[in-house]
């Protein structure tokens, strides 16, 4: 609930700031001075602003037109002496677009939905609806004017106007089974994931940006298993300096409040090019200069990141993970660089700590002989790349996509081998690829001996519920 309040506060804060700015009303006030009626003057001034936003070629700025509409209409209602009317509970709000304050005034406790003929998935209302789990469909175009019942299916993004008895029966059944499934999964969200046998499974999350943290309660997971640092390195933007990186990493580490937060060092190259860093014109980028190969070649970039990480490590339980390791020397060189950065910071009198350094296990050369990598503080199996390299098939090519199967016995055999070696050598093993987020792969992963999975945050409750059945 705090997150909803946070977003609602930001949205209302923005509207208040606009209303407090004399520049907003200035054209209206001069029109009134010239004899124009207040409501006409206000509508004219705001329509001018709204037109400016609607003309933007940027989705985000275009979506702000809805906020201006909201401001215009609320002032007009007050000028006319009308009350702000909330919608009735459990109803479908239907319109071209709806105002954020209309969303906030609606009592959603009995359900309800939003169906918009226009609207936008980046609007403030969409953010609020997503946070509250209110079904919302946008961009429906012109709907028949005389609708008495509208069935809104947020999962498929469709609506059904005036469903007949048969359609209604189907819709109600689908809605109930969806609600039952979600509700029964929800009971598991804040419980530790535990198998029938009593074995505890750690469920961590994969994140790729700071904004995501607003939507996740740390109490629902056992930490962050994979934070992709690439979001700081935007293609075409200047490289982030140490201070910028430090502030970002600190945000993740403090969010974890003592739970492990695993940040992966820069993993660009392959399908993630960054101009000025990744090489151009590689014949086969997935087999080229990517991950730790690239950062070891760009000592300056790697050092800046490792220094920022060592500084962030003092704020909580940070672990650092190196991607695309192929030979033990890459881990040794990365560890030496990290040690050098820690020594340098210490000499400079800057607070820092030496975080544990682990590796991604995603190159078959590591998965086949994990015992050569015992210097790693932990193993995190990257099943996406491991599958791609073991099956020699790309996920991006529809013609071979069927071969790119993480449940191929060869992939599962390697996962089993790494998990077994980790147990014997006392090295923690987790898996952070997409397969961990798919309930259909759960049984195989637990069978392989894994007791720690890092998953998409949206899947936490569903996976915990599924684990309880296994």
């Amino acid at each position: 609930m705090e997150r909803v309040e946070g977003e609602a506060r930001d949205i209302l804060g923005f509207q208040l700031a606009m209303l407090e700015d004399d520049a907003l009303a200035a054209p209206a006030i001069s029109a009134i001075a010239g004899g124009t009626a207040a409501h006409v003057a206000w509508a004219g001034a705001l329509d001018g602003e709204i037109a400016g936003y609607e003309a933007s070629d940027d989705d985000y700025f275009r979506a702000r037109a809805a906020d201006l509409h909201d401001i215009r209409d609320r002032v007009l209602r007050h000028l006319a002496g009308e009350e702000d009317a909330g919608a009735t509970t459990g109803s479908v709000l239907l319109g071209d677009d709806i105002a954020p304050t209309a969303f906030l005034e609606t009592d959603w406790s009995a359900g309800g939905a939003i169906a918009l003929q226009q609207g936008s998935t980046t609007s403030h209302v969409a953010m609020l609806a997503r946070a509250r789990g209110i079904p919302m469909v946008v961009g429906l175009g012109e709907l028949p004017s005389a609708i008495t019942t509208l069935a809104v299916d947020g999962s498929s993004g469709t609506v059904q106007a005036d469903p007949d008895a048969e359609q209604r029966k189907h819709f109600d059944a689908a809605r109930e089974s969806h609600a039952r499934a979600r509700a029964s999964e929800e009971q598991f969200r804040f419980r530790p994931a535990t198998r029938r046998t009593g074995t505890r499974i750690d469920i961590l999350i994969n994140v790729a940006g700071i904004a995501e943290l607003d939507h996740i309660d740390p109490a629902a997971c056992d930490g962050i298993g994979l934070m992709r640092s690439e979001f700081l390195f935007r293609d075409g933007a200047p490289l982030p300096d140490e201070e910028t990186q430090y502030r970002a990493y600190r945000r993740f580490v403090t969010w974890g409040a003592g739970k492990p937060v695993t940040i992966r060092t820069l993993d660009i190259g392959g399908d993630k090019p960054v101009r000025g860093l990744t090489p151009d014109g590689e014949a086969n980028p997935f087999l080229g200069l990517r991950g730790v190969r690239l950062t070891l070649a760009r000592d300056d970039v790697f050092r800046t990141q490792l220094r920022a990480l060592a500084r962030a490590a003092v704020h909580g339980n940070l672990k650092v993970m190196v991607p695309m390791v192929t030979v033990p020397d890459e881990l040794a060189r990365s560890a030496a660089l990290l040690d050098a950065c820690v020594a340098e910071l210490t000499a400079q009198g800057i607070a820092c700590a030496r975080p544990p350094l682990g590796i991604m296990v995603e190159v078959p050369a590591v998965a086949v002989v994990p015992e050569l990598f015992d210097a790693a503080a932990f193993f995190s199996i990257g099943s996406n790349d491991l599958t791609q390299y073991v099956t020699a098939s790309s996920r991006d090519d529809a013609r071979v996509a069927a071969l790119n199967d993480p449940s191929h016995p060869a992939v599962l055999a390697l996962i089993t081998k790494v998990a077994k070696h980790g147990r014997e050598a006392g090295i923690p093993v987790s898996l952070c690829g997409d397969m961990a987020s798919e309930p259909r792969h759960l049984a195989a992963l637990l069978e392989a001996g894994l007791t720690s999975l890092s998953v998409a945050p949206a899947r936490i409750a569903r996976l915990k519920a599924a684990i309880a059945e296994l």
Binding site: F14, S56, A211
Partner: protein, 97 residues
Amino acid sequence: MSDTVNGSVVITHDVGLHARPSVKLTKLAKGFAATLEIAGAADGPWIDAKSIVKVMAMKAKQNSTLFVRAAGADAQAAVDAVVGLVRRDFDEAGDGH
């Protein structure tokens, strides 16, 4: 503006100078006595950095350069503060909100 102080900074924030950053920028700007203006180009047009209506209307996007100028007693501090805020991604990278 004889004693004008100038500055510039690249906007790295994901969606540019959007609602929440604009609120932060104008609140910060109002804390200074100096006249404080921003622009999307070195030669303007310059707009009042204390007016959110005008700041939002700029629709400044990610990777665009924001030019800042100020005049008055605390002009240097005002320019430094605005440039610092934008450079820190409006404190959304480090501190949350």
